[in-house]
Symmetry: C2
């Protein structure tokens, strides 16, 4: 029977005007201690839930969100993040959300600083950030905090950033999962953990996966498997395939390769060219380049970081925070999705609507 309580009702119960109730609820000040108490007393008795619909309609202002993430032209991994952001945007545009995009070179501090500057220039009410560069991200987060701009981060977890929300994957656990899967599908022998032309800045990020991987093997598979880390040339250089071949010669009993980034397709391509078919390959992310090899069997498993959903949730959370003033999760770990040839389509199909 509990009818919905409105500000009007509270005003009546407390014997004050709606204006006063409004001032108390939003503590805008300019209220006598007496009135304050009267309203607070009522608020404690009843369970007032503001009507978010009415609130949104009333204060129908426009919110600007700046999305700051690497350029998908430079790394296709980010394509799906952008898709997720765009989908969230199209679902929320009616709430007066506009998004400006600022794409940076994921390995260039200068590029980041430039784009970050532009993002701030646009006078955003909220910022969505993929903090691939640690130090630059920290500096930027400081400015956001100074300027009181809500910051939501995704993909790369950096504890000290202390954003309003982080959305991503538990990387340590992700590494453990990869190891579990590898020990399930690979024959006993050597497992290579590959790092491909990585920059120093990313080392913490990648490190958590490797640590998790090794931890699992130590716990559960040390009798059958030996883990070795190899550093390969950047795929953009001609030496890439050679450096892989070299690694395989050094470790002749290699039965599996774990690629900690979305670049498994580069390894897959080289393995095909080298005619190696007895090596299990586990990598990350449903980018087109990987899917081809997952379908033809060169890549056996992919762990999906759900970066489309990361982008989607990032924008959704900012909308909830800005528009609806709803509480949002501080830390949102997404599922560690395992993708094979047979469940791939269930992860990438979109549905018709009516």
């Amino acid at each position: 029977m509990s009818k919905i309580v409105r500000m009007k009702d509270i005003a009546a119960m407390a014997n004050v005007s709606m204006g006063t109730v409004d001032r108390v609820i939003h503590n805008r000040g300019r209220v006598s201690a007496d009135a304050q108490k009267k309203v607070m007393d009522v608020l404690e008795q009843i369970n007032y839930k503001p009507n978010l619909i009415a609130r949104t309609l009333s204060s129908s202002r426009n919110y600007r969100v700046a999305a700051l993430l690497p350029d998908a032209e430079l790394d296709p991994f980010w394509r799906s993040s952008i898709q997720g952001i765009q989908q969230a945007h199209s679902e929320h545009s009616q709430f007066g959300i506009t998004i400006s995009y600022h794409f940076f070179d994921p390995y260039s501090g200068d590029s980041f600083r430039q784009q970050a500057h532009d993002a701030l220039e646009s006078g955003p009410d909220g910022i969505l950030l993929a903090p691939t560069l640690r130090q630059e991200a920290l500096d930027f987060a400081g400015i956001c905090r100074e300027q009181q701009i809500p910051l939501v981060c995704f993909n790369t977890y950096i504890h000290e950033l202390a954003p309003l929300a982080f959305i991503g994957q538990d990387l340590h656990q992700s590494g453990r999962l990869a190891a579990e899967l590898m020990t399930m599908i690979a024959a006993p022998g050597t497992i290579l953990v590959t790092h491909i032309g990585e920059q120093v800045q990313n080392s913490a990020h990648i490190g958590a996966k490797e640590t998790g991987f090794r931890e699992f093997v130590r716990e559960k598979g040390s009798s059958h498997f030996e883990v070795n880390t190899v550093q390969l040339e950047s795929p953009s250089r001609s030496g890439f395939k050679a450096s892989l071949a070299q690694a395989l010669e050094t470790h002749p009993h290699t039965k599996g390769i774990y690629v900690t980034t979305s670049k498994a397709y580069e390894i897959a391509r080289s393995l095909e060219e080298l005619g190696k078919t007895d090596i299990r390959l586990i990598g990350y992310d449903l980018i087109d380049e990987n899917l081809t090899h997952l379908r033809n069997g060169t890549i056996n498993l992919l762990i999906n970081q759900n970066s489309d959903r990361q982008g989607f949730l990032g924008i959704s959370y900012l909308t909830d925070h800005l528009v609806f003033q709803k509480p949002i999760p501080t830390l949102q770990y997404l599922p560690l999705s395992i993708v094979t040839r047979e469940n791939l389509n269930s992860y990438i199909t979109s549905q018709e609507v009516n």
Copy 2:
């Protein structure tokens, strides 16, 4: 620059009143051909998107939704569906959605009819249905169509129901996936597909999984694996373990068991009691009973039907349809999530909020 167009603007452009615009947009009739044309012309030129916020606030009526699904007391599988429904409800209750629950015995037509009758009695504006009983569901859907009550179904796909939306899993593909996983982790030998005390009504439902499973093995694993179907006693009967032991004697080279329902824990328990440790076990759903065995390793893999998300989406779609009059997907297949010991937590953890 494209300012948002309101009904007011359309009225001005077409030289009519807002009332007329309203009548045209909602084709409530009582409009002259002349006025109709004037408004339509404007509507074709501009891109009018109604403000759903304002619409919702204005027609702030209450919607009743009836949820009709099996009793979780009789089958724990349904617990998570209910959780999902409740979560969606708590997120949408501010939009004036109230839900009445009607739990039936999943194997009793009488029970279903009784609860379905109650559900209709409650005068719902929308219905969420888990159509476990085929014929009864068809009859019920007919009544819903007659009474023009929107019907959203989940979990069990029945084509002839033709609901507003179906949310669930592609069962054929689910079977294929199970087979792919089984051939990855099991040693060559016999694979058993088990049916546990199933009712006739569910045969179509379960059949799709088995067909998919066999199809995959035929295509990709026929040289190493032989698939056999076994029918076991209902776990409630004392003969369950014996019937399993009997099946394993009949098929002495059994290396894997595929349980097409959420009852893998029953098999796991019996396997433990029988001391069988070399048989891989793949089942469905993250119910507590299964998780225990997944954690201790008796169950190797679970395929998650995401029934919490099914319930959540079911209510969300009904809300979108009723409250926001948004288009919703006709057919929403959810991902075929693969769950292991190491990614289990990423599927069941909930987050703190701020």
